[in-house]
């Protein structure tokens, strides 16, 4: 019984490893928006050494996810503000359709991630 449990646990770990290696393999198909050379340059600046391209891709994808989260947060703020303004004036809805990334929205969404700038 003990052996059985142990077997299951190691199988589970095996699955996790398999999942991870599958994920890394799938990364090679996905081209992140941030190019590899750029990521490699900044990683090298902080002392990160790795010959594996998949890891560079991993970092690139992670950064892309981070930026898109910040951007979507800021977008929500922007839309919320536009909706609030529309309550006052109906004209704004036709004019201000452009969604602009402003410092205010950006600072609010970054604040959620405890990134503060002055």
């Amino acid at each position: 019984m003990n052996q059985n449990q142990h077997q299951q646990a190691s199988d589970g770990r095996h699955d996790d490893d398999a999942a991870l290696s599958d994920f890394l393999a799938s990364l090679m198909d996905y081209t992140p928006t941030i190019p590899d050379e750029l990521v490699e340059h900044y990683l090298a600046k902080s002392g990160f050494q790795c010959p594996d391209v998949r890891l560079i891709r991993l970092v690139a994808v992670a950064t892309q996810k981070f930026v898109s989260e910040v951007a979507s947060d800021a977008l929500q703020q922007c839309k919320a503000r536009q909706a609030a303004v529309v309550k006052d004036k109906r004209d704004k809805q036709q004019k201000d359709k452009r969604l602009i990334l402003t410092m205010e929205d950006l600072s609010r969404s970054l604040r959620e991630l405890s990134i503060v700038f002055y």
Binding site: P35, F48, C50, A62, S68
Partner: protein
Amino acid sequence: MSDGGRESERGPEKPAPQRKPGGEEFARAFVKVAVAQICESEGFQSFQQSALETLSDVTVRYIRDIGKTAHVYANQAGRTESNVFDIIQGLEDLGLAQGFLGASDIEHCLASSGTVRELAQYVGESEQIPFAYSLPQFPVVKDRKLTPSFLQIGEEPPGEHIPAWLPAFPDPGTYAQSSTPNDRTIELKMAKIEQENQRRKPERSLLNVNQWLASNELEGPSSVDAGDAAKAKQAAAKAKQAAESNPFLAAPLQYGEKEVSSVVLPAKTKLSNDSTTGNPISKYHGMDNHVSVLEAFAPNIEAMKSGLRDSEEGHKKVLLNTRPTVQFKLGSGKKYLGSMLDSSPQNKSFEVNESWFGRLNEKDDKKRRAEQILKESMGNLQELDHL
């Protein structure tokens, strides 16, 4: 994407204007493009410039933080090269502020970390946005041309104490005193100065004043010569300090080698005044120790500056040298007197003022007048500074 979306992308061809382009600017421009593309895919149509720069700055820091944490974890495990688990740990550390699934688990396998799962989810859901430009491998490592050793040249090192495998000494012609005629060296220096003028506005304005004065044919040749000599001296000073490819090439001019206009030596206290008021010319040339040059050309520089100022007011003023036939008109006496009383800290100047008003047309007063005008210009400069 429609045209409306396209115009929000900013090309990286223009780095920030009037800044020396370095490797950092190059990478930053690309990061801005990438960030802009990501934001655009989220639905933004345009950006505030400062917002885009801030976000790209945050992105760069994020990448560097991941690298740093991964590196730290690898070192903790006794490795120099990071592996995927180091990165996952780094991501977890950075994601703690935001929170991810499984963050509160004390012992969990890194392979099944919540961050990885979220990433896998993101990869599965989002569409690929290829980067708009193709990047070369950077930073480009330049091949260093090493100085060949004594052995490689086939030379024998001068002296027994120098081993032959050390790099050879440079050609003695590069550092010994050059015997080339002064004109050529001055021409070379003039060429260097012309290049640097584009970045140095005060120098250019002085140059303009020189030319203006030359065109007006008032003390034209002498002022141009003084200007040239000034430039040559500055070039000599600069060439000394310039970190060019071969700084040994520029041989400095020795005192007395070139004929320059004789110097009106101002009072010593005025000299200290000059160096402490932060004369912008001296600042730019970084000539902290070269007081002799400043001292030598302070009269010219001050007179040129006062000439520049006065040209705005519409008065005519001529570069003051010790050469004869100096004509000058003064502005409203009131103004100068006021400024002189305000700013000149020395009692001596008061006496000179009075004597100046008393004896207007005497020839032996020319020197004192010269000093006076210099003091005025210094005073006006200080006024301007106060403004």
